[in-house]
């Protein structure tokens, strides 16, 4: 009991002392703990790193699982869409098959892409005796360089035949006049001797004949003076009408004249495709 009283008295004295008096003792106690505190802080930091790594690992696993879910869902949607597409295609094919033959177009337009051969290419083909058009159809080398004639690198083996129109960008460039197995000669629109059926303004417009004159302007004949014609009217390729495709353009009416007492207009047309020959053309043909 006496020891308790003495100890309590000591603590009472300590409690009553100014805090600054006890600071050395407090500093000693805290200094003794400092190494251990540093070690403990290191362990805490290590533990936090480990915890962060574990959390990151589980986070990545969760993200991976979510991404797999999304991928599976997208794959399922993809399958459904593919099935729907196949179903629609089957239905379309069935509808087409059941469609009355009268509703289907009898003919349609097809195209054969061809490159227009330049002077160098023509010379090379002639030297190698590869320019079959000349051999087969008697076209002399000199004829190939005449104004109004050109050679393309597609022939009968590709479906090109005399009479097919050569078109570039919806504009008529010329007509195939001779076709060999691998090449063909095209007579351009403005060349003398070129003739084709045309229609004015629309596929159902007045029909006439366009002729190459060797000049810049071509001539359109056989359009009755009873038909209204004005400069600026579109001239379309009438030979390809009725096939359900937009008609290639020949050009635009430049000038309209009427001779005294004549039953037909004298129409002059500016070709839509002028200048240097195009690099590529499409040879238009009618397909079943």
């Amino acid at each position: 009991m006496q020891a308790l009283a003495v100890a309590l008295a000591v603590t009472a004295v300590l409690a009553a002392l100014p805090p600054s008096w006890l600071m050395p003792a407090q500093g000693w106690a805290l200094g003794a703990l400092r190494p251990g505190q540093r070690a403990a802080a290191g362990m805490v930091a290590l533990g936090r790193q480990v915890k962060a790594r574990v959390a990151s690992h589980f986070g990545n696993v969760a993200e991976l699982a979510a991404a797999r879910d999304v991928a599976e869902r997208l794959a399922a949607e993809n399958r459904v869409l593919a099935e729907r597409l196949a179903s629609v295609q089957r239905r379309l094919a069935t509808t087409q098959a059941e469609r009355p033959a009268a509703d289907r177009a009898l003919l349609r337009l097809g195209g054969i892409e061809a490159r227009v051969l330049g002077q160098q290419a023509r010379g090379y083909l002639l030297r190698q005796k590869l320019l079959d058009v000349g051999r087969v159809d008697g076209v002399e080398p000199g004829a190939l360089v005449l104004h109004g004639a050109a050679v393309v690198d597609r022939g009968e083996q590709h479906g090109v035949e005399p009479g097919h129109l050569a078109v570039e960008g919806g504009r008529v460039w010329g007509r195939v006049v001779r076709a060999g197995p691998n090449t063909a000669v095209v007579r351009t629109l403005d060349a003398p001797g070129f003739r084709d059926v045309v229609r004015l303004r629309s596929p159902r417009g007045a029909e006439g004949i366009v002729e190459g004159t060797g000049e810049m302007l071509c001539r359109i004949r056989m359009i009755a003076v009873t038909e209204p014609v004005t400069p600026g009217d579109e001239v379309l390729a009438g030979s390809l009408a009725g096939l359900g495709a937009p008609l290639p353009r020949y050009g635009v009416v430049e000038r309209v004249e009427q001779s005294v007492g004549a039953a037909h207009w004298d129409i002059w047309m500016r070709p839509a495709l002028t200048g240097s020959p195009p690099e590529k053309v499409v040879v238009v043909r009618v397909e079943p």
Partner: protein, 166 residues
């Protein structure tokens, strides 16, 4: 030997109280392992002067904690003295080594000490909180430390049993 263990345990407890308090915090409550060391010493050491050692440990806790030095030691001296009497009473009835008894005595001692220190700090104006919240927090600390005391008392009981068996 018991004093060596006490020094080691007190050092570790001081480390935990100062460096790992944030890690062990539950809400606003942290355990007070130095107080636990002092009370367990009173319970386990059959000496009439054990309360003095407990007071010394509490004094160390006062030195490394903010607040007035000596208050915790004074309360620990009083509580240790009272616990010594209770332990001797339990020893006479041969129930002093039972875990529930030890746990109850530990919890009672911790609760009394925490409430005493909290009330004193509140009355002296040393506490950051008003008196009632300070007492609630002290009660929470006592409860938390009592939970921590359970494994400590179990280990102490097993160690003592094995030593007596051999």
């Amino acid at each position: 030997m018991p004093y060596v263990l006490l020094i080691v345990f007190v050092y570790l407890a001081a480390l935990v109280d100062t460096a790992l308090a944030e890690v062990l915090r539950v809400g606003d409550v942290t355990p007070d392992l130095l107080a636990l060391a002092a009370i367990v010493w009173v319970l386990l050491v059959p000496s009439r002067w054990a309360f003095l050692t407990a007071g010394a440990v509490a004094l160390l806790a006062d030195l490394i904690a903010p607040g007035r030095v000596g208050v915790g030691a004074a309360w620990m001296l009083l509580i240790g003295f009272g616990l010594s009497g209770l332990v001797q009473h339990a020893r006479r009835r041969r129930i002093d080594r039972r875990l529930p008894v030890r746990l109850a005595l530990t919890a009672a001692g911790l609760t009394a000490w925490c409430l005493g220190v909290g009330a004193t700090a509140g009355l002296l104006g040393d506490a950051a909180l008003p008196l009632l919240p300070q007492l609630v927090r002290s009660l929470g600390a006592a409860l938390y430390t009592s939970v921590v005391a359970l494994p400590v008392l179990m280990v102490a009981g097993w160690t003592r049993t094995e030593r007596e068996t051999f």
